[in-house]
Amino acid sequence: GESVGLHLPTLSVQEGDNSIINCAYSNSASDYFIWYKQESGKGPQFIIDIRSNMDKRQGQRVTVLLNKTVKHLSLQIAATQPGDSAVYFCAENIPWTGFQKLVFGTGTRLLVSP
């Protein structure tokens, strides 16, 4: 299939390990953050989101942590599976006259070995 990126930072883990993917965002006024998963040949798929008034949010096997002091976001995936292999993007919503405006980071490729 197509590759969504050839020179992305890559995280390689073994199946069953926990994965941590990090993201630095740019705008201190951003009020909402989202992690997306993108597989080859597909559009980004929503994983989990967090609002700026929170510092942690948990989903099924995924946790997002937000540190507004250093403008840092992380995605933790528990018990990583081969099906988690993809490129992961963080996105920040920049408040703009009431409309939503997402700015995406550059992405991290996650490779999960059986």
Partner: protein, 116 residues
């Protein structure tokens, strides 16, 4: 529920030619977005429609790119004339609302454009 549909999936053209992409959002979604994703990068917003009106086109290269959303449903994105640096995946997304808060965006599979 049907997802966001895009066509064509792939397109190869020569520079200076024109090309058009089509998007059909999820039924009932008021907001439609076009993104450009260059290989190795995250998607970049080109234009955002609320129903059939343009909300944000600040990053759309208006000398060559145009987009419309007639009747507030389907949308087309056109490039004329294309340049080599336009080679990218063009993603369409839709959300139920846009104004007054954030809302999940649902993405289509994208159209991969190669300009030779």
């Amino acid at each position: 529920e049907a997802g966001v549909a895009q066509s064509p999936r792939y397109k190869i053209i020569e520079k200076r030619q024109s090309v058009a992409f089509w998007c059909n959002p999820i039924s009932g979604h008021a907001t439609l977005y076009w993104y450009q994703q260059i290989l190795g990068q995250g998607p970049k917003l080109l234009i955002q429609f609320q129903n059939n009106g343009v909300v944000d086109d600040s990053q759309l290269p208006k000398d060559r790119f145009s987009a419309e959303r007639l009747k507030g449903v389907d949308s087309t994105l056109k490039i004329q004339p294309a340049k080599l640096e336009d080679s990218a995946v063009y993603l369409c997304a839709s959300s139920l609302k846009s104004f007054g808060g954030v809302d999940e965006q649902f993405f289509g599979p994208g159209t991969r454009l190669t300009v030779l």
